[in-house]
Amino acid sequence: MTLPTTETRSTHLLTRRSWLAIRHRGNALTLAAVIALGVLVLVAILAPVIAPYDPNQVSLIDALQPPSAAHLLGTDEAGRDVLSRVIWGARISLLGPLGVVLGSTLIGVTVGVLSAWRGGWVDATASRFVEILFAFPGVLLAILIVAVFGPGLASTVVALAVAYIPYMARTTRSVALAERQTPYIRALELQGMSAWRITSLHLVPNIAPFVLAQATLCFGYAMIDLAGLSFLGFGVQPPEADWGAMVAAGQAALIQGSPAPALAPGAVIVIAVVSFSLLGEGIAERVRRTSA
């Protein structure tokens, strides 16, 4: 019979050791994520150089070939090279979420800093606005916008950028509130420096790591949401295709027993999103440790 106390002590030891292991593993994982994302960005930039075929070259005799030396990931229902399409698709698949994150970060940080700095009715109004937007799921807002303005990359990116504002605004507001109370900001205020200069030259640069961590996490979610909207046919329109649209186009071939045209772009989405969330967690962890 084991004594409960020894058991608990050993679990404590175990947790401490595994926590250290996780910290090391955490660094290795963050590094792996950075490498994976670096490769994806390079692939997107170098698409014209590294893609073995023209991604839109239709060749019906070559339709639905299994993976081979000539076509590493096979061909799709129109005989287009799947690998080349995945490589070219990296461009829109990365630029779309980038647009969402840049837009929501710009507005979200402005709203968050403004509410933290001004407080009072500005804060109350902004908080209500954020609360209402929170209740409106991003994909639904995007579908509403598509229903009004028609499908396209621009509609979905703008709609998701608006829908993601709350995530950026809330994080920014809470860290900016804490930063506002710090002695150096008070000192600058006493010296008579203008609110605009304090916030833009000191406060925002100081909270930037928190914002970066949140924005990186949002990048992954935005990629899932945008790919889903493209999958439904609401995002980027043919002949251009991001990975989401490619998965949708591959469904018919998958039912006929050729899964590569749908599963290859799907797998790349998963790799990208895992990398963004690991990187986001890694940055958040580092920020927590240095600020603690």
Binding site: P4, A135, I143, L144, A147, G244, V270
Partner: protein, 318 residues
């Protein structure tokens, strides 16, 4: 009791405000479109002069903007979403015929999320080691996998290669329906189950280290009684809050999953309505999903003091 009632009243008030704002966005969106509202409403659909007049009447387009909104909202509150432009049939009937499929699908997925997420989460927290490591890796990947990618992988393996489950359709009769809805439910549930697993694990690890759990252990309670009788009661509270959020959020993802598997539910109705430019249906489905989403958040908030005795003692304040 009044200390509990006041925050409740505030919550209901803010809920009403959110719903009012949502309805305004959903109604006002029509005016953002280029051209007049009636040309927007009928675009792409060939309509007779009577239908055009019916649409004008439906949206009270002869009234000023604000009375249009108030009249429309008055109908919506009574469950009257007007007529579908495509089918010339009440939108409420159209939606009602689609509700059973979506309800069964979401219910099925919710059971999967709770059973798999909570059980594996508790197991990972108790066993640690290899079980825990595997659970973390699998859940990290699962959380990053969009529902349509899960759907494709499941279809390829279980419908095309193995032939165990159908790739399309909702089936007839309860057993057959469950069989048809299995792959869609897994596709819908996977990433949420992973999130619930993670939260359960973290929360249970915290609860297992608490003093009262330690006391139970020292008093010689069996380990299953320590885990399920003591730690679980405290550890489950954050999971309930999260589960309420993710399960109501599934309604949004049904747009994708129902479309992939050819199911006639609310989600695929919304997608079809956007494609055939049937705006009254779009408005109604979006409003209903947001309302369900917001209401379930309220229910979870109300459940919180029931589940968490300390919050009740503090008068429901969090």
């Amino acid at each position: 009791m009044s200390a509990w009632l006041l925050p409740l009243a505030r919550r209901v008030g803010s809920l009403a405000l959110v719903l009012l704002a949502t309805s305004f966005i959903v109604f006002g969106a029509m005016y953002l479109a280029p051209g007049s509202p009636e040309s927007f409403l009928v675009r792409g659909n060939s309509v007779t002069q009577e239908t055009l007049q019916a649409i004008r009447d439906q949206y009270h387009l002869d009234e000023p903007f604000l009375s249009q909104y108030v009249l429309w909202l008055g109908g919506v509150v009574q469950g009257d979403f007007g007529l579908s432009i495509q089918f010339r049939q009440p939108v409420s009937e159209l939606i009602a015929s689609r509700v059973p499929t979506t309800a069964l699908l979401v219910g099925y997925a919710a059971v999967l999320i709770l059973v798999v997420g909570v059980l594996v989460g508790v197991l990972a927290a108790v066993k640690r080691g290899g079980v825990d490591g595997t659970a973390i890796v699998v859940s990290t990947v699962a959380m990053a996998t969009p529902s349509f990618v899960v759907a494709m992988a499941l279809t390829s393996l279980f419908a095309v290669t193995l032939g165990w489950f159908p790739a399309f359709g909702a089936g007839e009769g309860f057993g057959d329906r469950l069989w048809h809805l299995t792959l869609p439910a897994v596709a819908l549930a996977l990433s949420s189950a992973a999130l619930v697993l993670r939260t359960t694990r973290t929360s249970m690890i915290g609860a297992l280290g608490k003093e009262y759990v330690e006391t139970a252990r020292v008093r010689g309670f069996s380990s299953s009684r320590v885990v399920w009788g003591q730690a679980f009661r405290g550890g489950i509270v954050p999971v309930v809050t999260l589960a309420g959020l993710v399960i109501s959020g599934l309604l949004v993802t049904t747009t994708i999953v129902e479309t992939v598997f050819g199911l006639n539910g609310i989600g695929s109705l919304l997608v079809q309505a956007v494609n055939v430019k049937d705006f009254p249906v779009v408005q109604a489905v979006i409003l209903i999903i947001v309302a369900v989403f917001v209401l379930s958040n309220l229910v979870v908030d109300l459940l919180y003091p029931v589940l968490e005795p300390r919050a009740r003692a503090k008068g429901g304040a969090r």
